[in-house]
Amino acid sequence: MAVTPLRSPLGRAIGLGSAKEGVEHWWLQRITAVALVPLSLWFVIAIIRLVGADSDSVRDWVGNPLPATMLVLLLIATFYHASLGLQVVIEDYIHAELTKLGLVIIVRLGCVALAVAGMFAVLSMAVGTSS
């Protein structure tokens, strides 16, 4: 028996459902998760080695190319992943539309702001322009 497709050929090609959204959220959550496996393990090991270090040692360490790169990648992956995850938590538990929308916007903007602040701090230590 032939199956009659319910969607138009164009609709099938675009692959979006009624929410007008594809799998970007799900997919980016996984990509950032995979990135965070080595990044977070590296970070924990780096922090263990820095226990008790003074301000100058930390600045010298961040100034090296590898730590600076890894920290920037860690910040991007962490706050992207957190933003996606917190959005789902909000969407699951908050049912008042206006509150939900407001919280999702606050989380999204907050994650961007924190990621930018962190990256600026790393880069300022890496290129030595701060005090």
Partner: protein
């Protein structure tokens, strides 16, 4: 038969908890804790970039009992979310979704979290003492 007294499902007061559902909600809770902990990471980096006074303020806080408690909670949440996240990634490939595998994987996650947290703190204390 009155329908008003029927329990709702899942009725949390009489719900029989299982490993799978507990680990599921803990994954989400750990994610929220880690999001809050990420603020600490940014605070630490910004303080280090700002200079010794700001950095010493953060270092003093992190060295206090409250700071150490927060760091311990952060480490525990990180290793749990990491181990269980890998379990989720395996599920995404379509493997390990039968009842037995979900329990074996769940206990592996619990053991892995405990082991990694313990190793990290022993290494951290050794690094601090040296």
């Amino acid at each position: 038969m009155r329908s008003a007294n029927r329990p709702l499902s899942p009725h949390l007061q009489i719900y029989r908890w299982q490993l799978t559902s507990v680990l599921s909600i803990l994954h989400r809770a750990a994610g929220v804790v880690l999001s809050a902990g990420a603020i600490l990471l940014v605070w630490w980096l910004v303080a280090a970039a700002s200079g010794p006074d700001a950095y010493n303020g953060v270092a003093d806080f992190l060295g206090s009992w409250l700071g150490i408690l927060l760091l311990f909670g952060w480490t525990l949440s990180l290793f749990y979310h990491l181990c269980n996240g890998i379990r989720h990634l395996v599920w995404d490939t379509g493997h390990g979704l039968d009842l037995k595998s979900t329990y074996v994987g769940g206990w592996l996650v619990v053991g892995g979290t405990a082991a990694l947290t313990l190793i990290a703190w022993i290494a951290g204390i050794a690094s601090w003492a040296s």
